[in-house]
Symmetry: C2
Subunit: 349 residues, 2 copies
Amino acid sequence: MHERLLADFAAGKKAALARAISVVENHRAGFEALLGMAHARTGRAQRIGLTGPPGAGKSTLTAGLCRAYRAEGLTVGIIAVDPTSPFTGGALLGDRIRMEDVALDPGVYIRSLATRGSLGGLSSATREICDVLDAFGVDRILIETVGVGQTELDIARTADSSVVVLVPESGDSIQTLKAGLMEIADIFIVNKSDRPGADRLRNEIEVMLGMRSGATLRDVPAHHGVDLSRNVARQAREAASKDGDAWIPPVLRTVASKDEGVAGLVEALDRHFRYLEASGTLRDRRRTRLRERVVEVVEDKARRRLWNDAGTRQWLEERLPELEAGHATPFTVADDLLARSADLLTRTS
Amino acid sequence: MHERLLADFAAGKKAALARAISVVENHRAGFEALLGMAHARTGRAQRIGLTGPPGAGKSTLTAGLCRAYRAEGLTVGIIAVDPTSPFTGGALLGDRIRMEDVALDPGVYIRSLATRGSLGGLSSATREICDVLDAFGVDRILIETVGVGQTELDIARTADSSVVVLVPESGDSIQTLKAGLMEIADIFIVNKSDRPGADRLRNEIEVMLGMRSGATLRDVPAHHGVDLSRNVARQAREAASKDGDAWIPPVLRTVASKDEGVAGLVEALDRHFRYLEASGTLRDRRRTRLRERVVEVVEDKARRRLWNDAGTRQWLEERLPELEAGHATPFTVADDLLARSADLLTRTS
C-alpha cells in the first residue's frame, strides 16, 4: 500500500499528494521514508511567504498571486498557517471561503495548518509539507500566515522570498513592527493602497530601510543553543559587506480586492528569485534551511525516543515523590534520566 | 560571589532577588545551582495566571489584584509575559507605566518577559522565575500574558489558578475562543462590565460551561511526543467522573479601572485555592508541573549538550553537501548524528 502511494505520487496523481501530506502532517507510519524520498526531489519550487498583521488582506493577495501564476500555466501550492488556533480558528475558514474559485482549480493545492501538539512543530510541519509539494512538482508554493508573532517569523524563514503585507492603518504601529517584520521582508506590500495614508506608510518604510544595511537578518543561522545564536549581528554585517549588490526590498502598492498591483508583485518576486540565484543567496538560504531541518529532526527524534519509551516514563514517575519532597531537583533528575538513556537515544529505529 | 548571592537571597534582600532572576532568565553560570536551591523552597506561593485577548484590561486588573493583596499585607510578584514580542513590544511597556504606583511599592516585584531564543522557552522561563519568587517568600505570583495564543495557554498551565479576562466586545468571538481559553479557565472575568453586552457575555459563558464537564483539560498531562498526548479527552472524562465535587468556574463582573469587583475576584481565588487543596487537585497540578519541568530540563540539556559542542556542529557542516546533493536525507543524517553522540548526551556536565 505504501509502495502504491509512492508510485502514485511519482506519477503525479493529486489524490496521492493529498494522502502523502496527511501521512507527513500526522507523522503516520512511513512518514520518514516519504520525506526521505521527497528530499531528493526538492529544489525546483519557489517558496514564497506572505506575512503581516491580521486584516492586511493576505488571503486576498495570496489568491490573486495564485491566479496570476495559474495564468502563466504554473501550478501552485498554498499553505495557510494559523499559529493562534485553536483560539481564533474562525478567521482562516473565512479566508478559505473567499479563495473558493482558486480552491476549485485542479492546478492548485491548498492545505491549512493549525497548531500541532508542540509549538515548534508548526514551522517544522510547514517545511515538511513544502518539501512534499516541491517533490510533487508544484512550481510555486505560497505560505500564508495569519499573524505577526514569533511563530510566523520562524515560518517566514522557511521561504525563499518573504513578502510582508501591510495596510495604511499599520502606519501607527510601524515602529513596533520594525524589530521583527522589517528584518525578514524581501518585498513590502502596502495593500488597500486606495485608502488614505498609503503614501505616508510607504515613506515610513523607505526611511526605515535606509537605516539598515542591505542584508536581512534571516541570512544568518537561526538561534540554536547558545553558540549558534552568538554574533548574529556581526555576521549580518559581514554578509552585507561581502555582498556589494545587496537586495533593496521594494515597497509596492496593491489593492488586492481589485487585483491591482498583483502583476507588479509577480514581477518583483521573479526579480528577487533571479537575485537570489545570481548572488548565491538562494544557495545560502537553502543550506541554512537544511541545517535547521537536521537540527529539528534530531531534536524530534530524541524527544520521541525518550518519551515514547514506557520504561523512561515509569522511571520518571518513580522519581516524582523525591522531587515533591525537595530531595532532588529537576536538574539532578534530568541528568540521571539522560545518563540512563544512551542506548535509547542513539539506537537507530 | 555566587555564595554571597545565595546568602543575600536567603536573607530576603530584594537586590539579590533581582540578580537571581537575571541569572536564571539568561541561564548564566550558576543558574542550575540557584534553581536547585530554589526548588527545595517552593510550594508556598499561590500562582495566579491572567489570560485574555488584547485590550481586555488584564494589566489594570493585575494592578488592582496586586493592591488588594498588598492591603492584606501579602507580598506580590508580577510576571508580565509577551510572547508576541519583538513584534508588538510597545503594548507591554504602556501597561507597565499604567501600573506605576504598584511598581514603586517595595512589597511588589515586577518582571517583564518577552520571547527568548527559542519558542518553548517562554513558559519554561516563566516557571523558573515563579520558582525563584516562590523560594524568595513571595505570597502571590500574578502571571499576566498579553494575548490568547498557544504560548499563552502553555504559560497559563504553569499557574495554580487561571483567570480568563474577557470584555463585552468578546461576545462575538466567544465561539472561536471556546476551544482554548474555556478549557483552562478556573475563573471568568467579564471586565469593563459597565459597557453594553456584559450580561449577554456572562450568559453565553455560563451556557458554554453547562456544555462541558467539571474537570478542566489542564488537569491531564501535557502533550509530549505521541504517547503522552494520546487519550487526552478520555483522561479528562475520567478525571471528571472521579471528582464528584468538581469546581464550576464562576463568572464575575469587574470594572477594573474603577476597582469594582476586585474584592470578589480575591474571594473567588481564595475559594478556588481552598478547593484545589481540599480536592487534591493542587497536588495533582503541581505534580504535573514537576513532570513537565523535568521534561523541559531534559530537552534543554540535550539540546545544549549537542549544539554547544563544536565537534557536532563541524560534523553537521561536513554532511551538508551530501544533503544538498540529495545523497542523504535529514533523517539519515539525524540518525547518524545521534548515534555518534552517546557520550555527549549522557555525560553529566
